[in-house]
């Protein structure tokens, strides 16, 4: 093979390698979950109404069998995302429809509202009033061994927020088994709570229940992928 031919082969392989890298990078960027903005559509100072769902299997996309959160956009459309833009220093009223089954916790301490707090005292700050409402009943601690256990948590450690989400009966005929979003006719718990956003910044949030079944210690797959059981709250000023 002549020198020119060798150079041709070399640059061809180099081009293919660069193309693969670019393709992989673009695919990764394109796979990021969309961000639902509550910052632009919200009247200044008015509470943000954040409506979420947790489902046992999202039913669509690359991982239809993965457990997931969903977010309702301001126009009422449900999207499979865990990333939101929320204005700073604003009260966020969260309504969370929980459609997944539950179990006892690996660490029952996480059944306490406000448990997963970095630096501060658990249960102080974060969730306004230190209580969540489960189907209209104020609750401070959810016992994972009672009822249907706990399905997930909504936890923002840097903001002192940890809200355990009681599960529903997975053997019920009304258990949601269709692709998300689940209809309100399906068996679910309605959990409400409020918190106030701090100054601008990006705050990680996640479910602290190892619900990534079939993954090591339940913390892989959806637990380790933004858009399913973890995400970011982007607080914008």
């Amino acid at each position: 093979m002549g020198r020119t031919a060798r150079l041709g082969v070399f640059f061809s392989l180099l081009g293919i390698a660069i193309g693969l890298c670019v393709f992989t990078a673009m695919a990764w960027i394109g796979s990021a979950p969309p961000t639902v903005s509550f910052a632009s559509s919200q009247p200044k100072g008015a509470p943000v109404q954040l409506h979420l769902q947790t489902v046992g299997a999202i039913g669509t996309g690359a991982h239809p069998d993965w457990v997931s959160y969903l977010t309702q956009e301001p126009d009422g459309h449900w999207v499979g995302t865990t990333e939101w833009d929320i204005p700073a220093s604003t009260v966020v009223d969260v309504t969370l429809d929980e459609y997944d089954s539950g179990s006892p916790l690996r660490n029952e301490y996480l059944g306490l509202v406000g448990a997963a707090t970095v630096g501060g005292a658990p249960g102080e700050g974060g969730v306004i009033g230190g209580l969540e409402n489960v189907n209209g009943k104020a609750v401070r601690v959810v016992d994972g061994y009672s009822g249907n256990g706990i399905a997930h948590t909504f936890s923002v450690p840097d903001l002192g927020i940890n809200v355990p989400l009681p599960g529903v009966d997975g053997s019920s005929s009304k258990f949601c088994s269709e692709p998300a979003p689940c209809p309100t006719s399906a068996l679910h718990n309605v959990i409400t709570f409020s918190f106030k956003t701090p100054a601008s910044g990006v705050y990680r949030w996640q479910c602290f229940i190892p619900c990534g079944l079939s993954y090591l210690y339940g913390n892989g797959g959806p637990m380790a992928t933004a858009g399913y059981m973890a995400g970011f709250i982007k607080v914008v000023s």
Binding site: Y109, A115, A151, P210, Y217
Partner: protein, 327 residues
Amino acid sequence: MSDGRPGAADEPRGGHAPHLIRIFAIWAVLSAIAGPLFYLLVGPHLPPGHMTSAASGDAWDLNVVTTMAIIVVLGVWTYFGYCLVTWRSSRVVGEPVVGRWGRGNLLVQTSWITITTLAVMGLFVFGTIELIVPAGAGGGEGPNPVWTPHTKNPLVVQVIAQQWLFTYRYPSFGGFETTQLILPDHTAIAFHVTSLDVIHDFWAYQLGVKADANPDYDNVAYTTTQQLGHFVVRCDELCGIWHGAMFDYGSIVPKAKFLSWATASENRLAPVTKLLPPFAWTYTPSANGAGGGFYPACATGQVTNCDPFGNVATYGGAAKQSAHETA
């Protein structure tokens, strides 16, 4: 001029001794100045500080080793500098003198081997002793430590690592669990570090404490608090996607304030404490999924040595008693 000895004609005028003496003298003077200056002026400010006995031990070790390193570096620099000045090309006509002197010198060789061996072995012995003696490295000493604190009543704080959060249990105060790590001042602390899932690492840098958190394993690290202040806790084993977010803050507070906080937390967290498993040195959760549970390994019989120190309850009792006496 040759003095008749074989190879004597190769010997530089004036021999080698004056050069070695000069180099040694310059190095000794520089070391006598720089070593104590660093040890006394910079050393006390070296990390990780003096919040605990372990941190002080680390800082002192670092001070000693750095001072020794400075003395060694000065020796090398002095030699290089002397050679560059004394035997630079503008001062030496022709090729450097070699002959038998270039092939070896017993005095230089034995001196070099002796000095470097002493330096390395000295640091080895120093480091080994410092790892073992109380308040030495402050690292995880494992379930069967080679030494235990002199006090019989260390405050036991259990560090429970899980993806991706540290929680702490205080068995002396009803076994409540919290994300707050509050420690009393001037108190011996026994950190019992374990994990509920993968391998983590409890690293309280300013405390000079670093211990791996392994599932089904009770890793023990001792220290004694000696300074009020705040410190940072980080996980130091890559434990998954949110490893970088697995950090926490803690505080060392006066004893009275600690007792007040611990008692208040015990009462405030009672509703969730009653849901926790009985205190145990390790817990064996399900290896897969949320349907786990949180089982004390002692209860399942997997660990028989569940009470290696037998002082879990006594600290709180003694401390509370002391507080009452003070009041």
